[in-house]
């Protein structure tokens, strides 16, 4: 046993110590390194900032909104341009404040993102980890199904699904989730294959762990970092698909302030009242961009193998 140096360590040294005294210290140290790599990427920080802002907007939409998002002032405030007194971003054809609608719309955006991630990611993770760990015909069958779904045109399939299920934001979420799990399964399988024959898995197996326990506790955690990167990058596309469904009238139904549907209703006034359709589009662009930036940053920080590409 080497003696612990008696010199008082700074917090940084403690985190970066190559001889961590506890699991917590090792974990915190790794997290610190990851954060350092991540925060060196300014654009990724911008992305993170935008998403924090989105979450704050969603939480405090009720407090921040100057007006009601669903009922407007039909008599006195129809189609006011941005900068009108009391209406920072202008109003729409029903005299509703666009800013208030955007603020409340952030809740719907978060709702879609979170639900899609909660449905699609575990599905893909389980399918991929089971396929990769089990191997043999289980692997062959599961991966064939995954590849079949991977070969489908996502947007068109989502359209057809929503057409059958009926329009609505829950059905839109379901349709997007059904079409977005296959890449996660492939990633999880690839990661599982690399750790399957690792020594630590053999050790756990010798200690008598059941296959279920091995997959759940020892294989799946290893897939998480690649999965998180991929999910973050995919969320940009999920937002665009959800907005597209909303634009076609298949997503959130009026009077819900869904951003894609807002663009659709502003479409009729685009020539004279450009702001009605423009503002929600900027919101979609920003959030989608934020996910792309964050995802790129996370990939460089969590997955050094792919960094530099």
């Amino acid at each position: 046993m080497t003696a612990v140096p008696s010199v008082p360590m700074s917090r940084r040294d403690w985190l970066l110590s190559d001889r961590p005294q506890s699991r917590t210290q090792a974990r915190l140290g790794r997290a610190y390194m990851t954060w350092r790599r991540f925060s060196a990427n300014r654009l990724a920080l911008v992305g993170l900032g935008i998403l924090m802002l989105l979450i704050l907007m969603a939480i405090f939409a009720g407090v921040l909104s100057p007006h009601s998002p669903v009922s407007g002032n039909l008599a006195g405030a129809r189609l006011l341009p941005p900068g009108s007194p009391g209406y920072l971003l202008g109003t729409d054809e029903q005299g509703r404040d666009i800013l208030s609608r955007l603020l409340h719309g952030s809740r719907l955006t978060l709702f879609v993102i979170i639900l899609v991630a909660v449905i699609a990611a575990p599905t893909g993770l389980i399918v991929g980890a089971v396929a990769g760990y089990a191997g043999g015909w289980v692997d062959a069958v599961l991966m064939r199904i995954t590849d079949i779904f991977l070969a489908f045109p996502k947007l068109v399939l989502a359209l057809a699904l929503v057409a059958a299920l009926g329009p609505g934001i829950e059905n839109a979420v379901l349709a997007i989730a059904v079409t977005s799990w296959p890449p996660y399964a492939r990633i999880a399988r690839a990661e599982t294959m690399t750790v399957r024959n690792a020594d630590y898995i053999a050790a756990v197996r010798l200690m008598g762990a059941s296959p279920l326990r091995i997959v759940l506790l020892h294989v799946m955690p290893m897939c998480l970092s690649s999965l998180i990167v991929r999910i973050t990058l995919d969320m940009a596309g999920v937002i665009l698909t959800a907005a597209g469904l909303g634009f076609l009238g298949l997503g959130a139904q009026p009077p819900l302030p869904e951003w894609g549907a807002m663009i659709a209703s502003g479409r009729r006034f685009i020539l004279d009242q450009w702001w009605v359709a423009t503002m929600p589009g900027i919101a979609i662009l920003l959030v989608s961009l934020a996910f792309n930036l964050l995802g790129d940053g996370l990939r460089d920080a969590l997955d050094p193998r792919e960094a530099g590409q």
Binding site: R144, I145, D147, I148, F149, A151, F152, P153, K154, L155, V156, L157, L159, A160, L161, A163, A164, L165, A236, L240, A243, G244, F247, L248, G249, L250, G260, I263, R267, I270, L271, W274, A277, T278, P280, G281, I284, L285, S288, L289, F291, N292, L293, Q309
Partner: protein, 357 residues
């Protein structure tokens, strides 16, 4: 690469083993094709027959008398067990029989034949624009890595990935049509020409060129250029990013060092040696982006009133015309799958490393 085991099996064996290995590759491709198409048909069957309220009601409306409903139910085969219905559906779909469109009262396949060329023309021009600009941009970004150009290409690409295309389409119409008058009103061709011009292939640009109708060509061009450029921008974002990756990979290879040592000019090294090798995976990327444009044109066509399969599907959606929606889905899905598989085969043919040595 989906089949590394088989290609490795092929390497370094006797002639007979190699032929068997090749047969195994072909067999696996056939399995992939068959199961993927079956999957597509199963999913659309599920969407069309299992989920909806009642297909008979969708055809007849809810005021039809009971005996008519019963007769139609039997005609549609809905009284059969589900698996028999599926086989009927399979047989019909494989013959291109997707039923009748409630909206247009034509067979869905007839409708799709009419609208598909418009989408193909749009997506082809979009992919052309995307690759002709995207590939050079990606090469430049890789060569001048970290420079201002690299940053600019990255940002152009990021925005292309993040922008809602229907929104960009609306804004570009506002600018290029309403303000600048550079392009024509949404649609595919001016009403003036609609009756004087008889297209042969349905690809209006080629048809008008072939018939030397220059004024028609000009009009068609003014209609197609904006939606095609928008789709081109989306594919440019993807193509330039992948080109950059492939080129960075090639430029770090030893043969580049050897070429430099031989004293070849940098231009020659980049555009002939490196790009030629990067071109192999690029073909796959361009094929995939073409497939995604065929699909992605759904939203663009809606904004530009472009009479293609995307607009056909969305119009049918809004009128609960399930036969048309599913027919369109199957056709787009089939093309999508075909391009996917073709690009995979092409990749294997072009890259000698995936073949027997």
């Amino acid at each position: 690469m989906t089949l590394p085991e088989t290609s490795q099996m092929v390497a370094g064996r006797s002639k007979g083993a190699r032929a068997r290995g090749r047969a195994a590759v072909v067999a696996r491709f056939l399995v992939v094709i068959v199961t993927t198409y079956l999957g597509l048909l199963a999913v659309t069957f599920f969407i069309g027959r299992v989920i909806p309220i009642d297909p008979v009601l969708a055809v007849l409306g809810d005021r039809a008398p009971a005996h008519v409903v019963e007769r139609v139910r039997e005609e549609m085969g809905l009284n059969l067990p589900l698996y028999q219905q599926f086989f009927r559906y399979l047989g019909d779909a494989l013959q291109g029989n997707f039923g009748t469109s409630v909206l247009t009262t034509n067979p869905v396949m007839t409708d799709i034949r009419r609208v598909l060329p418009a989408t193909v023309e749009l997506a082809t021009l979009g992919t052309l624009i995307g690759s002709l600009i995207g590939v050079p941009l990606g090469v430049l970004a890789a060569v001048k890595r970290g420079s201002l150009i690299d940053q600019a290409v990255r940002i152009i690409g990021l925005i292309g990935y993040s922008v809602p295309i229907f929104w960009l389409a609306l804004l570009s119409l506002l600018l290029f049509y309403a303000q600048l008058r550079w392009v024509a009103f949404p649609g595919r061709i001016d009403v003036v020409y609609e009756y004087t011009f008889t297209p042969k292939t349905g690809l209006f640009l080629l048809d008008s060129l072939w018939q030397r109708q220059w004024d028609v060509f000009r009009d068609v061009f003014r209609h197609i250029i904006l939606p095609a450029s928008l789709l081109g921008y989306v594919s440019l974002a993807y193509i330039s990013r992948m080109t950059r990756n492939f080129m960075l990979n090639e430029l770090s290879q030893e043969y580049i060092v050897a070429a430099r040592a031989k004293g070849l000019s940098e231009t020659r090294i980049i555009w002939f040696h490196a790009l030629r090798n990067a071109a192999v995976p690029l073909v796959t990327v361009i094929a995939l982006s073409y497939a995604s444009l065929l699909e992605g044109s759904v939203l663009t066509e809606t904004v530009f009133a472009w009479p293609g399969i995307g607009l056909y599907i969305t119009n049918s959606l809004q009128n609960a015309d399930m036969n048309a929606v599913l027919g369109g889905t199957i056709v787009i899905g089939s093309i999508f799958i075909a391009i996917n598989i073709l690009s995979d085969i092409l990749y294997r043919t072009l890259d000698p490393r995936t073949r027997a040595r």
